[in-house]
């Protein structure tokens, strides 16, 4: 019970000694207090002053907290306290005791110090537990004096004694007297502490800011933050998470989870991307103040992000989350394993971290860009070396995997029809779980107006399809996409300039737009190259096949030895051919239609060292004027309207072989000029191309025109003529080699008997006679056709009749033939003809003289004059 009896110091007139003692104590204490530096010095000084005058065991000071009406230990008597070994001592130091209890209310309402015998009060229901603890420590009595500040109670000074007679009126008087001084001292201590703390925080932040200013890398930041936290006595962990490029997730950026983290968990935590809106991270980002989280409560709340589970496993109970932002832009969050939030300090730290973070991220962005660019360069130079699809595929797979962390879903290319898109390349591994479905879908040729393709082709830089959204809208492809677990399908057009090459499809959660664009344009070029290469290869292949086939054909038909005719004029031709074949000399073959100019050309080629390659033939008369150039020299894709592909010209095809230019006389002047240039330079440029191509071609030209005449008439370039007319071979017309007619006839009969299946064993002498007496304006070709026709019309195994045309056309031709000759020539030719037809009989019945209606001797003298010998009409 409160001992009011002892509370009478104020009622009695104080004795002189008491007053003096009191004054001395006050004076000394006043002096002491100015010396107080450490808060517990106050207790020590105060105790030492009082100790000499009065008896007590120890003393403490408690403070009131108005917000919850409690009081708690503030200054302790670390030497004198007898309860320091008591098991509940720590608890007492940390505890808050309610002001709403009779024990303390009595002190609050009294103007005098109040004492209690502990035994009387300590076990009352609302009495604070420290009473009993002190009792157990040997204390028997307590004297409570309240400390006031600005008219309000601010705390208490507790005096304890192990006797029950210590707190006499003098003692109480002194206590009451010095209470205001103590109050002042305590207030000062509190204020000093606050100031000191502020000072400490300020200098801490200053240090931190100079550390942060030196931060250049992630690692620097890590150690700066770690050092700072350790300085704040926060030995525990922290994580800085940054918002990822996709703007929808965050990942650990800098962290130190201390010893709590095991390697495995850590590697998972560090790599993971956590959705910003996971119900926790977004709360931190949306809060301008630090938030204190309880791990267990957040799990209970239903937040599923895995980090909470890991943290729980690591033993974290509470943590603080603060957003990191640069101006108005959220950069990420700082998560700290602490319990107490010093707002200003934390916000100071975070402001600094944010600046450093923004700088590092900007730096990283730049070096990442540089890296990306360097990479793209490497990639591009690697791609230029690729010639096959397999090489390209390997390169593409690698780049997508390494740089973009993704896999190729599909590259489709536009077919030549400009409508269909066929599969070019894909990464089967991507659809590991759904091979069959994928193969089914991939097998479909799709058209450019297919919904997704159309959207992609219409876009400039591609379209991102959200897999889930597409799934909801009933997209068949999306079902397949979903099997990969990736969030977005990126469809991009592959374009070369304005030309669409195809489309590329990539599945990923997120792809950086810039890099994607770069890689796609590289892939475009590579795909286009490969496609061109493939076409070229296919074309070459086809040519090779043709070549083999033709070679075969040529071997069977056109043998040097198969040129029939052993007459004098042909002997001369053979001689010339023999001379020229081995060399690379240009040969000009002249002769009427059907004289076998091509045959001769092939024979020359086959007799030359170039014979292993196919002779390439161009019929200059058969070429449309506007295509001659591209036919001869080739063109690049897009060189002119309709030039949809690159084309190799005949000259290039005849490289290391022979080019046979038939009907060279029909070549238009413009093309002649180009041809001349190629012949002179031995090199060419494709139409629309810039590259000069060296060629090694042997030229054989042929014409039935009189090129000299053509030159004179201005239809043929003189310079070209000279270039071509290096080694002319003139093929005689058939009518000038009647001696070969029989052999040729046998040859053709044999040839066509074989091909028609009719066996002609004999040729009637009359037939030979008939054939010899015809003028053959169509030359050997005419003879060949005639024999073919005649065999078909033959009724038995003897060719007894031929059907020499007697039509107006032939007459006209003959006439034209005749018209071109001098009288003497005509006369000579006619006499020879007639002699031949008459079997060489000059006079008498059925003789030439009879036919010519001149006397026999007149014919004789004319023959002599014209130099007609037996060999002219006998063969």
């Amino acid at each position: 019970m409160k001992r009011t009896i002892k509370n009478e110091s104020g009622l009695h007139a104080p004795t002189k000694t008491i007053l003096e003692q009191e004054r001395k104590v006050l004076l000394d204490l006043g002096n002491d207090i100015t010396k107080v530096r450490e808060k517990n010095d106050l207790i020590t000084l105060f105790k030492n002053r009082i100790k000499g005058l009065f008896y007590f065991t120890h003393t403490i000071i408690t403070l009131i907290d108005h917000k919850d009406e409690t009081y708690y230990a503030f200054l302790l008597d670390n030497e004198g306290s007898p309860i320091r070994t008591h098991p509940r001592y720590r608890e007492m130091v940390a505890a808050r005791f309610s002001l709403n209890a009779p024990f303390i209310q009595a002190v609050l309402t009294s103007d005098e110090p109040v004492s209690y015998i502990l035994e009387d009060i300590m076990d009352k229901p609302q009495s604070p537990p420290f009473l009993r603890v002190n009792y157990e420590g040997g204390v028997r009595e307590i004297l409570m004096t309240k400390l006031m500040k600005e008219g309000k109670p601010m705390g208490f000074i507790h005096m304890y004694s192990d006797r029950t007679d210590s707190f006499n009126p003098e003692f109480r008087g002194v206590m009451k007297g010095i209470a205001p001084q103590l109050s002042g001292a305590v207030s000062n201590i509190i204020k000093n502490e606050e100031l000191l703390n502020k000072e400490k925080e300020k200098s801490f932040l200053l240090d931190f800011s100079s550390n942060i200013a030196a931060v250049r890398t992630k690692e620097d930041l890590m150690s700066a933050v770690r050092t700072a936290l350790h300085k704040l006595d926060q030995k525990s962990g922290f994580v800085i998470r940054c918002i990822n490029e996709d703007k929808t997730t965050m990942s650990a950026y800098v962290y130190d989870l201390g010893s709590a983290a095991d390697e495995k968990s850590l590697s998972v935590l560090v790599k993971a991307k956590y959705p910003i809106n996971d119900g926790l991270q977004n709360r931190v980002l949306n809060s301008s103040i630090p938030l204190l989280f309880n791990v267990e409560r957040e799990i209970q709340r239903g937040i599923t992000s895995a980090y909470l589970q890991y943290w729980k496993k690591m033993g974290f109970e509470n943590f603080v989350g603060i957003r990191l932002r640069n101006g108005e832009t959220n950069l990420g969050i700082l998560l700290l394993d602490i319990e107490e939030i010093k707002i200003e300090l934390l916000q100071g730290i975070c402001a600094q971290i944010s600046i450093a973070l923004a700088n590092i991220m900007a730096n990283e962005q730049i070096s990442k860009k540089q890296e990306e660019q360097a990479f793209l360069l490497d990639f591009s130079s690697a791609l230029t070396k690729m010639r096959t699809k397999d090489e390209l595929q390997a390169a593409i797979f690698e780049v997508l995997d390494k740089i973009m962390n993704t896999q190729l879903a599909m590259i489709r290319v536009l077919e030549d029809d400009g409508v269909h898109l066929s599969v070019f390349m894909f990464d089967r591994r991507l659809f590991g779980k759904a091979h069959a479905d994928f193969d089914k879908l991939a097998a479909n040729k799709i058209k450019i107006d297919e919904t997704y393709t159309a959207q992609v082709l219409a876009s400039k830089e591609g379209v991102v399809f959200n897999v889930d959204e597409e799934l909801r809208s009933g997209n068949d492809y999306a079902k397949l996409w979903k099997t990969t677990g990736l969030r977005n399908m990126y469809g991009l057009p592959l374009r070369m300039g304005d030309k669409i090459i195809g489309t590329i499809w990539l599945l990923a959660d997120f792809l950086g737009p810039l890099l994607l664009k770069g890689i796609c344009s590289q892939i475009t070029v590579a795909v286009a190259n490969i496609l061109a290469n493939e076409k070229l290869l296919a074309y070459k292949k086809q040519l090779e096949i043709e070549n083999d086939y033709l070679k075969e054909q040529i071997k069977t038909i056109y043998n040097f030895s198969e040129i029939i005719g052993s007459g004098e004029s042909m002997q001369e031709v053979y001689r010339l051919m023999g001379l020229v074949a081995e060399s690379s000399t240009t040969v000009l073959i002249l002769g009427e239609t059907g004289t076998g100019k091509e045959l001769i050309a092939r024979a020359i080629h086959n007799a030359s060292p170039r014979k292993e390659n196919l002779m390439v033939k161009v019929n200059c008369a058969a070429l449309p004027a506007n295509l001659i150039e591209s036919e001869l020299f080739g063109h690049e894709r897009g060189a002119f309207t309709g030039a949809t592909d690159r084309r190799i010209g005949k000259f290039e095809m005849a490289d290391n072989s022979t080019l046979f230019l038939d009907e060279i006389g029909e070549l238009p002047l413009e093309a002649q000029a180009k041809l001349l240039r190629v012949i002179q330079e031995r090199e060419l440029e494709r139409v629309g191309g810039k590259q000069v191509i060296k060629i090694n071609v042997r030229l054989v030209a042929a014409t039935n025109r009189n090129l000299e005449e053509e030159v004179k008439a201005g239809r043929f370039r003189a310079d070209l003529y000279f270039r071509l007319n290096v080694f002319p071979i003139i093929l005689p017309p058939l009518r000038d080699r009647l001696e070969d007619i029989e052999a040729l006839t046998h040859f053709f009969v044999k040839k066509y008997s074989r091909s028609t299946g009719r066996t002609i064993r004999k040729i009637a002498p009359r037939v030979i006679q008939q054939l010899r007496s015809y003028t053959w304006p169509g030359n050997v070709r005419e003879l060949e056709h005639l024999i073919e026709r005649s065999i078909l019309l033959a009724t038995d195994s003897t060719l007894s009749d031929v059907f020499i045309p007697r039509n107006a056309d032939a007459d006209k031709q003959e006439q034209a033939f005749l018209l071109n000759r001098s009288l003497e020539e005509v006369e000579r030719g006619y006499i020879i003809e007639t002699l031949k037809r008459c079997g060489g009989k000059i006079s008498g019945t059925g003789s030439a003289a009879e036919v010519l209606q001149i006397p026999g001797n007149t014919l004789h003298s004319k023959m002599k004059k014209l130099g007609i010998t037996k060999s002219d009409y006998f063969s």
Binding site: K67, D68, R283, N286, S288, I289, F293, N294, E344
Partner: protein, 251 residues
């Protein structure tokens, strides 16, 4: 139960804190003065630890339109975030009768935002909408004073004593969350100029009240019945005269 009263040192706050303490609850009177600040977040998270009920009775130090909006927005946002994190089970706030029909007044817009933040927070809540406090009559007179005249309209007015407000607030705080609003008002309805006239008379204030027929509240035009409950409202026990009697005693 542990209860935190934000604005626990204010007019209503002090009373609510006392009532709840007397009922044996552990109560924290939170205000910047006691180291808990909803604007800066200082002390907030610590105060919220293990807290069951939060009663928000704070008021903006400035009534200027922008400042008051910022106060209720930021304070509401921070307070609710801290409550969510601490798992607080009931949030009680004191709002104003007619708040949604007086949106032309800046202060009302801010209080409405405060209400909306609460409704959207996910924390179980009860919003108590009160009419003006009797203690507020002096303030109304002051803001309507022009020289020696007080210009006021006959807008309907049903002021409530702060003791009654505190009682109601404490009652609703301890009850289950309504996740809705209740209205409280004084037991008598007046025309505003008349009750102010009476108040000045009792207080021996020399100013004279001039009725102007223009229903207004703090400078903003309002409807004739904007300040009184439209429907059901709980009524306080203390009428004007008995309130005045206690005021006189205090003075």
């Amino acid at each position: 139960m542990k209860i935190v009263v934000i604005g626990g040192t204010g007019l209503i706050g002090t009373k609510v804190v006392n009532q709840l303490r007397q009922a044996g609850h552990q109560v924290i009177a939170a205000s910047p003065a006691t180291g808990i600040n909803t604007l800066t977040g200082e002390g907030l998270a610590e105060a919220m630890k293990e807290t069951d009920i939060v009663i928000d009775l704070a008021n903006s130090p400035s009534f200027e339109d922008k400042a008051v909006m910022e106060f209720f927005q930021t304070a509401g946002h921070n307070l609710l975030a801290a409550e969510i994190n601490a798992g607080v089970k009931h949030h009680v706030a004191l709002s104003i009768v007619g708040v949604d029909i007086m949106q032309n007044i800046g202060y009302m817009r801010a209080k409405k935002v405060q209400e909306e933040l609460i409704e959207q927070s996910g924390v179980p809540y009860t919003i108590v909408r009160s009419t003006q406090f009797l203690e507020f009559i002096a303030g109304i007179a002051n803001q309507a004073t022009d020289g020696n005249e007080v210009h006021l309209s006959d807008v309907l007015f049903q002021p409530i004593a702060s003791d009654d407000v505190a009682k109601f607030v404490a009652k609703y705080a301890l009850a289950a969350p309504l996740n809705g609003r209740v209205e409280i008002a004084g037991p008598e309805r007046f025309e505003m100029y008349k009750i102010v006239e009476r108040y000045l008379q009792l207080a021996n204030d020399p100013r004279t009240v001039v009725p102007n027929g223009k229903p207004a509240y703090f400078g903003g035009e309002v409807t004739h019945s904007a300040l009184v409950p439209a429907g059901e409202a709980e009524q306080g026990a203390i009428n004007f005269e008995s309130w005045w009697a206690t005021q006189a005693v205090k003075a």
